[in-house]
Symmetry: C3
Subunit: 136 residues, 3 copies
């Protein structure tokens, strides 16, 4: 059984956001056994799994990736959509456009401290389209 | 249903290349509903999903990852295969050896601007072996 | 058929470790055709697929990621668990919390030089919980 569910997220501020609750709400009843795949249909935002307990982790992610992928690097040429656009593509490639994790006993098999992040890299982002796929 | 299809890519130049057309051609008829997994059997090339409209994005990727993972860093010791080899392994780990995305209505569920990249990190690359796996 | 197998790894030293043998041992008989997904339930360690032949590659990975994600960066605020903790989260996000690869003819379809890495980022790590999921 393969089932797809669209999840339209509203525009989030630039930064890292734990969206595990939004995903669980969209999933509703979770099958006993399977795998969840989450895909983002955009190239200037990403998904990853990381620490969900301390909000300082989220702001440190924003600080670090801005430090390592700064805006206005002289060698970048894809600049027509603004200085935050090409860095957003690079960050999206580094973090990835999908995550997947096991479903066991009707639960996502997240570790104790793990949550699913939406990583929003644009200053003036639009709503983002995700596809949740369940195999069971 | 799980089906594997090998895809042998010819040697590409060092850089980032949109290979969505080659993947679609190899897939032929796509099932109505499922997921596509693409795997690269190499450690100095990678796969990712990113912007496929403006070719400047591809050259900016090459410039950025050369900047962040330069050749001839003093602390690297795995140098027998040339100065581009260990940076290639590092870039491959940062970008990843597989991508996966939903199949909906007989189509890959790529966003409007998304394409699948072959990221070739070697100066004198050989052909690359990919495995396309469809679950349906 | 979806089957989950837990794999509890003992505490490894900080660094990069090829764990393909441990995974193969836990899997036992591998089905003829399918896909393997490996998931790590932690946010300061990661999984990736890379070169498994030369141990110098493993130490070069440790050197490079320490160089690019150093400890004690002034702008980091999540510091209560020690200077190696927030860099560990960042490295985990860059490398990822899961890998997946095809199963063909009762074998993992690893390329000639590929192995599965446990990437341990903490100085005093604990045992790590992995979940191996086979679809067949």
């Amino acid at each position: 059984m393969i089932q797809h569910l669209g999840l339209q997220l509203p525009a989030y501020e630039r930064g890292y956001h734990v969206i595990t609750p939004q995903i669980l709400q969209r999933l509703g009843d979770i099958p006993q056994n399977g795998l969840l795949h989450v895909y983002i249909q955009h190239t200037s935002a990403a998904l990853c799994i990381n620490e969900s307990a301390d909000p300082d982790v989220l702001t440190d992610f924003e600080s670090f990736f801005n430090y390592i992928v700064p805006e206005n690097m002289q060698f970048l040429t894809h600049t027509i959509e603004g200085p935050d656009d090409m860095p957003a593509h690079i960050k999206a490639a580094m973090l990835g456009s999908s995550i997947s994790l096991p479903i066991i006993d009707h639960q996502l098999a997240l570790g104790t401290w793990q949550g699913i992040y939406l990583c929003e890299f644009r200053n003036h982002a639009r709503p983002r389209s995700l596809i949740l796929t369940i195999y069971a």
